[in-house]
Amino acid sequence: MLLKECYERIGGDYDGVLSRMISEATVKKFAVKFLSDKSYDLLISSLENADLKEAFRAAHTLKGICQNLGFNMLFGSVDPLTESLRNADAPPPKELVEAVKRDYEKTVSAIAMLDE
């Protein structure tokens, strides 16, 4: 799969990210690196451990990555979760977490299918 195609599939802002990073190769390099980024795992495990502070930080980081890489769909579901975790004293609504999980899976699976 081509990068542009992949971005379309994951609801990404291909033009935006390309304009920031100039070359497609750079974009692709970082997109692939996203697969090994630990922010998502940290978010999920923190939520399981009910460590809301750490979960917020992880969500925040993930949100930042999404912005940097132009993963707009995932950003769209991470952002509300981040906000619900900001200064939170109760776990976030299940739907928000589920949405992030769903979009993350979609994003990751699309990136995994990129051509070499």
Partner: protein, 854 residues
């Protein structure tokens, strides 16, 4: 109003009644007082009169007694000097008696026998007036005083002392009688003294007068009294007389008040010693009464005057009190009305608001339903989503207004003051408002006059809000094809040299407003409620928010408006200057020509150009410009660049450009000063030989940025001014906990800016690396906010507090947060600037450029 009237009436009535009651009470109290006083006066006068009469009578009676006893003693002395037992009836004896009598000034001397026959030794012959009783007592051997009449008819008082002298004509006398004139007694007793308050009579037991002060027609006092007395105090004259007689019988004093000859008189009767006579003393009250009544009259007058004064004072107090209460009632009423009005405005606002919220909400729901129904029809779904987005934006605007208003009403709105570029602000606003203006085919202009200081301290968000509110109102209330203008003018500020006064004026040719509405335009929750405005939506809070913000900035806002003609809002703000890299804005000393028909704009542009080092001339129209060019052509002071306004009288900008190219070739760059969006005319302009565009408003920096590319001869034709800036060799520390983010940042910084980036995994590492580096090692720090161990805020504070020479190093926050509170917090803990994620390397480049001056 009814309430006010009725309560006023009530108060009036209450006050009137109280005043009347008060007057009645005062008058009756004073009258009662006067009555009691006069009664008391009378009784006091009576008792004083009685005391006086008693004393008087006693004195007269004592005097009488003393006089009589003295005379008696004289007669007795005569008897003793010629004791009757030894006396033979000789001439010598009589002569001796006569001698003594003369010495004692007796008017007559006589001897009297048992039968009452007088034998006169000296003086006039005497005849007893009341012989029987007299002789009775005389015979019993008592000394006696009586009254006799001389032959001449004069009354004399006779003093008889028992003495058995032989009588000259034979027989023995039983008493020696000496006479004293009644006038003498009268004088002694002062019975007829007219200057006294009183007069007296002496009467006998049966009422006949012995001596009376003034000659009266009657001989008997009782008869006279019966005739002259009137009934008084329930007593008839008879009762008076009976009482008088009883006291006389009992030899007691008698005192009574009576009316005689229509005058109140006091009568006092006391028995006289040596006689059966009684002294009657009378005091007429006439004069006393007069004195007294004049006294009480005066008292009464005084009383009434004081009553009047008291009443007057009371009346004044009442009146003042009344006015005070009236005022209070009115104020209360005003407050109430104000509260009711505010309440009404709020509920009206609520209902308007609900309506306003429902409209876009309905659109959102409806569009969603349509989109769901046509989920496979992509264009339709897109159009639905677009509409939903517009409605959502609108809804958000409304809710933001309400939130702002509630912030304002609860006093929680604060300003965050920072350096603001007026040029950027105006450009932003223009770009926001431009689509709306275009949609309504309105004419929009921005004028900049004499702006020396483009950078000022202000709350940019709030300033934007004010300008946007005013402009979007202008757009909203101006019909299609109308015109809207915004002008900025700088003036000296009265607050001092560090401040500038910004006059912002936003003018439209819209529907205007009624004078009544103009009065309350800045009140909360109002919107002109007439049909033509109904269809225009809005929370009605925009203007009060605007007003509040301007007030909070210490400025003033005013409005001029005429219905059907348009409105003009003026905002005056005093803002502090911020001198930010103005020194950089210098261009070579070119000669330039500015062509614009608006004189003020022309002059303002010339002044701005002069201030950045360009000597500029100006021309009001195309024809003049061509003339001026002709004169300078080929000379050393030939114009280097021409700024042409698009809209000119006569030849417009494009025609002028054509003309210039035709006459002088195309080696002079011509820039078109154009309103805001030149895409419509770009092709035509380029064809006419226009080299570029400069958009209004013409700030100094706008001119500088637009003209900069012509520096050093090698000007290029492309309108892009964003040149690549590189920072080779600059060292930047990037505090970022996420590897991926770090790699992206590092890649971009290195590859695009040539910056050498170093990683700090968290705030703590960042602080440590900074502290362990040589001074000046790092040129800037990019700081993520959310990091483990130590966050960006704390790290910044630690670096700022490190005490190193380079503790003021440029720190730029880099975060996914875009809330203004977060940005505020960044600035507060000492960061210099803020960039949002995604990392925009150009933005960072600009920041580095402006802060590091490279």
């Amino acid at each position: 109003m009814e309430n006010l009237k009725s309560s006023k009436k009530k108060t009036m009535r209450f006050l009137a009644i109280s005043l009347i009651v008060l007057i009645v009470i005062c008058v009756s109290a004073l009258s009662a007082f006067a009555w009691v006083v006069s009664k008391k006066n009378e009784s006091t006068l009576n008792s004083v009169g009685e005391l006086y009469m008693h004393g008087m009578s006693e004195r007269i009676s004592d005097h009488f007694g003393t006089t009589i006893s003295l005379r008696m003693d004289q007669v007795e002395a005569m008897v003793r000097s010629f004791p009757p037992d030894e006396v033979v009836a000789t001439e010598d004896t009589y002569n001796g008696l006569i001698e003594q009598a003369k010495i004692c000034e007796f008017s007559s001397l006589a001897l009297c026998d048992d039968n009452g026959k007088f034998e006169v030794l000296y003086g006039d012959a005497l005849e007893m007036i009341e012989p029987i009783s007299f002789f009775n007592s005389l015979n019993s051997g008592e000394e006696k005083v009586g009254v006799a009449r001389t032959q001449a008819g004069q009354k004399v008082m006779i003093l008889c002392v028992p003495a058995k002298y032989p009588m000259p004509q034979g027989g023995t006398a039983s008493a020696l009688v000496a006479a004293v004139s009644a006038d003498y007694i009268r004088q002694i007793l002062a019975l007829d003294a007219t200057d006294l308050l009183t007069y007296s009579h002496i009467i006998r037991h049966d009422g006949t007068y012995v001596i009376r002060s003034v000659d009266k027609e009657k001989d008997n006092y009782f008869e006279r009294a019966l005739e002259n007395l009137s009934e008084f105090d329930g007593k008839t004259p008879q009762i008076y007389l009976a009482e008088l007689r009883d006291s006389m019988e009992a030899h007691e004093d008698y005192s009574a008040i009576m009316i005689m000859d229509n005058e109140r008189r006091h009568l006092y009767c006391t028995p006289l010693p040596y006689t059966d006579w009684y002294l009657i003393t009378v005091m007429p009250y006439g004069m006393l009464d007069e004195t007294l009544s004049s006294l009480s009259e005066q008292v009464l007058i005084c009383l009434f005057i004081s009553l009047g004064v008291i009443l007057l004072v009371l009346f004044i107090i009442f009146a003042m009190y009344f006015r005070m209460t009236q005022k209070q009632i009115r104020e209360l009423e005003d407050t109430r009305r104000e509260a009711v009005r505010a309440n009404k405005a709020k509920s009206e606002f609520l209902s308007n608001m609900s309506h306003d919220i429902r409209t876009p909400m309905n659109a959102i729901i409806g569009m969603t339903a349509i989109a769901v129904a046509n989920i496979d029809n992509k264009p339709q779904v897109q159009s639905c989503l677009k509409k939903i987005s517009i409605s959502g934006q609108h809804l958000l605007g409304l809710i933001n207004d309400v939130l702002d208003m509630s912030k304002i009403e609860s006093g929680k709105m604060t300003l965050s003051v920072e350096v603001v570029s007026l040029r950027e602000t105006v450009e932003n606003i223009v770009s926001i408002i431009q689509p709306q203006v275009k949609a309504k085919s309105q004419k929009f202009d921005v004028f900049i006059y004499d702006i020396e200081n483009e950078n000022v301290y202000c709350d940019s968000v709030r300033l934007n809000q004010v300008l946007l509110n005013l402009l979007s109102n202008a757009v909203k209330y101006t019909p299609e094809g109308g015109s809207i203008s915004m002008s900025l003018r700088e003036e000296k500020s009265p607050k001092g040299d560090n401040f500038v006064r910004m006059n912002i004026c936003i003018k439209d040719s819209g529907i205007g407003m009624t004078p009544e509405f103009k009065e309350k335009i800045f009140d909360s929750f109002t919107r002109e409620d007439i049909k033509r405005v109904r269809k225009t939506e809005g929370s009605g809070l925009g203007m009060s928010i605007t007003k509040y913000i301007v007030d909070a900035m210490g400025g003033e806002i005013s409005v001029e408006s005429e219905q059907g003609v348009g409105s003009e809002f003026r905002v005056v703000l005093d803002m502090e200057r911020a001198d930010v890299f103005e020194k950089e804005m210098v261009l070579p000393n070119w000669n330039m020509l500015v062509v614009d028909d608006d004189e003020q704009l022309r002059c303002s542009a010339v002044a701005a150009l002069n201030s950045i080092g360009v000597s500029a001339d100006c021309a009001p129209d195309g024809e003049t410009a061509v003339e001026m060019l002709k004169k300078r052509r080929g000379k050393p002071n030939d114009y280097k660049i021409i700024l042409l306004d698009w809209k000119l009288p006569g030849m417009d900008g494009i025609e002028t450009a054509r003309e210039i190219h035709k006459q002088f070739g195309n080696d002079i760059p011509i820039l078109l000063i154009s309103a805001y969006d030149w895409s419509d005319i770009e092709d035509e302009a380029r064809a006419a030989g226009i080299d570029g565009f400069i958009s209004k408003p013409l700030f100094k920096s706008t001119l500088y940025l637009g003209l900069r590319k012509y520096v050093g001869e090698e000007y290029t034709d492309n309108g892009h001014t964003d040149e690549e800036i590189r920072f080779d060799g600059l060292r930047v520390l990037v505090a970022e906990d996420n590897t991926l983010n770090w790699e992206i940042a590092s890649e971009l910084l290195t590859s695009q800016l040539g910056v050498e980036a170093e990683l700090a995994e968290n705030g703590q590492v960042c602080v440590d690396k900074f502290k362990n580096s040589p001074v000046g090692y790092y040129d800037a720090i990019l700081m993520d906010i959310r990091m483990p161990v130590m966050n960006g805020y704390e790290a910044t504070e630690a670096i700022r507090a490190s005490g190193r020479e380079d503790s003021g190093v440029l720190i730029v926050a880099m975060t996914a947060d875009v809330f203004s509170e977060d940005i505020d917090k960044c600035m507060k803990c000492g960061m210099d600037a803020h960039v949002a994620k995604p990392i925009d390397i150009n933005a960072i480049g600009r920041l580095l450029h402006s802060h590091l001056g490279k």
